[in-house]
Amino acid sequence: MKEIVTSVFENLGSWGLSVIVLVLGITEFLVGLYDKHDWDENEKATDLICYAAPKILLAPVFAFFTLKALPVLFPGMMGIFSWVPFWFGFAIIAVADDLTQYWYHRLHHEIPWLWRFHRTHHSASYMGMAMASRQNIIYTVFFSQTYLTATLVFLGLGFPALFVKGIKSLITLSAHSSITWDKPFYKYKILHPVAWVLERLISTPATHHAHHADANDGVGHYKGNFGNMFFIWDIIFGTGLITRQYPAGYGVKHYFKEEWYVQFLWPFFKSKKVGSELALGGPEFYDEVGETGGYTVKDLKSNLPEPALHKELLEEPQYNQVAV
């Protein structure tokens, strides 16, 4: 039995999750969950590049860290904690990985200058498999829990890590899905006690969709619900909101449909969209009332370039003067 379960999770980690993403994504597409949203070519390109490119570009970085850097950083310590009983190892990895990701995520929302590295994940006006991996490259490179978990695997907690990774991926993917699997738990009274535990323990579509909402309106809660696998961190730290409802809209209010390569590669590439947070000289962030972090409206007006259209109009020749 142990071999079968191990084999399931090994396959889940190697190719299984990609298949689940694909099947779920196709299902979402076929039942029309993307139809009502503005899923245009630029959005599709952003989703696709963010999903595929890190798998190719960052694989050497992670391989170097795990195979070359760790043996140097921790000489002679390979596998020294392999004696740790499975369930304790599971708890150590689960807390270390998910609490670190909670903080990594939360700080990108609460420290203004970090926001733009995470904005790409929130710029989608839809939920689903298409946007689940949508992240700026810098955010992905510095995914702190990846390195922490790799270190714990090196030190001997690889077996429990295999299961934590599989379970965590299933929870986070299903929380991003536009298939709201948690609805029956809220609908049927007999399931309410299960719902009560579930929504406090793990991220559900209701709580995570609220985090992706375009408004803090009592259902949407983009200033909280930061948990990835466990929601319990939000409960402990008071950053959670549970309503058992789904937001009316998703995304960021001041979305300029920035170019796909800018969303993926900012700050190496800057947006040409005037006023964008990703443009040269753009504000660090817009909050929900349209004011900007670190900028006053006066600063904005003086710092931002004139709208391109306006400039072109000014440079147009005065026809009434050149006409013969």
């Binding site: 195979l67 596998g79 609490l99 700080l107």
Partner: protein, 60 residues
């Protein structure tokens, strides 16, 4: 680069301190378990580490 609002900054510091306790809980639980049961699993020389996708460690 602008700093977070002081109230947010203070909440981050408070919650970060609490996080140290949360990180240590499973490790503390392990110590209590070993103390109570008297087990010394690190003395079992047959323990084999599992590295999964990082299996190449073993060949080093």
């Amino acid at each position: 680069m602008s700093a977070p609002d002081p109230s947010i900054r203070n909440r981050i510091i408070r919650n970060a301190l609490l996080s140290i306790v949360l990180y240590s809980l499973p490790v503390v639980a392990l110590f209590i378990y070993l103390k109570v049961t008297g087990e010394k699993p690190w003395k079992n020389k047959d323990q084999k580490a599992y590295y999964g996708q990082f299996d190449r460690y073993k060949k080093k």
